[in-house]
Amino acid sequence: MALLGYLVFLAFPFFWLISTAFKPARELGSLHPTWIPRHPTLDNFRQAFDEQPLLRAGFNSLVAAVSAALIAVVVATPMAYVMARRRGRLATAATGWVVVSQAFPFVLLIIPLFLVLKSLHLINSVAGLVMVYVVWSLPFALWMLVGYVRAVPLELEEAAAVDGAGRLRTLVSVTAPLLAPGIVATGLFAFITAWNEFFFALVLLKTPEKQTLPVVLTHFLGAEGAADLGPLAAAAFLATLPSLAVFAVIQRRITSGMLAGAVKS
């Protein structure tokens, strides 16, 4: 019974969003809104695409999130490997940074980043945003990857070394295949993080044709909540689908990744 209460609390806003997205304008204006649209329609979706450059924004989001995720994984995997296999000063410092970075208020980071990127002429560019996203997703990516590396038995690598495989050879043909699922999960997580991110995008992207989906979504809000509810709900619903889909795929790995990182460090 209590569980049911939880499920209702967690699910009803999302249900309401979907319901609003499919309601015709007449029902949205009604004084007594219903849970289920009486005459479901796709008008809101059409109108949403007319009002705001959603396709353009979606494309920008996709480019930013995919590049950030790829770069983050490529850059983080070797470092995570070193952090997991060695207990040197470097690994300790890196772990410390992962923890401390969670406490940064973004204000303190965004002002200097804004100034630095401005001097590099990377304001209002997706490339600048990608750089920020890579660094921003690194702590959690490292955290997860370290857990995955530790899960690969050291004995396997030693066996390969005994058999005469070089360092690189061991990494490529023994460790990498075992790590692959973890790397994919980490990359997808970085993708979601970047896809959902709002604050940096708001500050760094100025013109509508460069902006990502979350920023463009806020344009629907207008002044003082005078928003057009139907198209707003429709656009918000669409913007959620990619992260929901990706999350559904990796959810189990995320939770176990968190665990692996947490339990063994």
Binding site: P13, I110, A161, G225
Partner: protein, 309 residues
């Protein structure tokens, strides 16, 4: 470099391997991540702290000058900032505590009810994976005074007329806090559930046989095992909540009358609407300081707990 070599060797000894130490290889592996971290994270952070002691402004032609503690002295007398700070603390505590209690309840339920775990997990995906902006938009639809489901339900239950939840001076902050709790619930639950699965089940059964009630079992068996996870996740939640931005930006943008203007919103406006970079950086420093103090207390509590067991 030599010290790194030495520590690396010690590390290798525990691995039980011998041979040439590929330390340069290690640096080669670390650098691709280290450089962006230094350039885009550690560097800007130090730069940001330095900015707090200057009169840096957006679009200024005159060179930026050191002003010492001037920004901090101004902040001390900035009643708007302290009001925002108070709201920020109310928000952070108001979200973190119910979030933890609700998540603990849910985690305990899920730990017992294996049958429904898949369903709850599926639902828990939703708030976790959603963009914060969409969460904000969604709840605006729920709270909408005319077309929102909340007022309609209240009317149907005969609990009187609805209200503009996000625009009322008294209701805005509580309404926003509910959304904050909702948004962070899944993550906290998953962490606690993970912690619960580490509790010794035999001990639980032994206590039950000895006639310990549910509450007693929770206090003596479950809680000690769960405590480290609980402390870690509440600390992180507190920090994340205190620094949160997007949710409230979308829901109320700090209104009505600044009742929900969290410190992050305040600093954002100061920096990117009024262009006061130095002043906003000083605000950031104060926020870090407060969080550090909080973390220090938390850490002491954690160490204290360690001595008990």
């Amino acid at each position: 470099m030599t010290s790194v070599t030495a520590t690396a060797r010690t590390g290798r000894r525990s691995g039980g391997r011998s041979g040439k130490p590929p330390d340069h290889g290690a640096w080669f592996l670390v650098l691709p991540a280290l450089i962006p971290i230094l350039v885009l994270s550690v560097g800007p952070l130090l730069y940001g702290i330095a900015l707090a002691f200057t009169d840096s402004q957006a679009g200024r032609t005159a060179p930026t000058q050191w002003t010492g503690l001037l920004n901090f002295r101004d902040l001390l007398h900035d009643t708007l900032f302290w009001e925002s700070f108070r709201i920020g603390l109310l928000w952070a505590v108001g979200v973190t505590v119910p979030q933890f209690l609700l998540a603990l309840g849910l985690a305990l339920l899920l730990d017992q009810n294996l049958r429904f775990r898949w369903l709850a997990r599926a639902l828990a995906i939703i708030p976790w994976a959603m963009p914060e902006v969409v969460v904000g938009i969604m709840w605006r639809l729920v709270y909408n005074p005319d077309a929102g489901i909340l007022n309609e339900t209240i009317g149907d239950l005969g609990l009187g007329d609805g209200r503009g939840w996000l625009t009322g001076l008294g209701t805005a902050l509580p309404a926003v806090i509910v959304v904050g709790v909702w948004a962070g619930l899944p993550q906290t639950t998953v962490a606690l559930l993970a912690g619960l699965q580490n509790t010794p089940h035999e001990l639980h059964e032994a206590a039950a046989i000895d006639g310990a009630g549910a509450w007693r079992r929770f206090r003596t068996v479950t809680w000690p095992a769960l405590r480290p996870v609980a402390l870690a996740i509440t600390a992180l939640n507190f920090i994340w909540n205190f620094n949160s931005f997007a949710l409230v930006y979308v829901l109320t943008n700090g209104g009505p009358g600044g009742k929900t203007r969290l410190p992050m919103l305040f600093a954002y406006e100061e920096a990117f609407r009024y262009g006061q970079f130095g002043y906003a950086a000083a605000m950031g420093c104060v926020m870090v300081a407060v969080i550090s103090v909080f973390l220090a207390f938390h850490l002491v509590a954690r160490l204290g707990g360690g001595e008990d067991t």
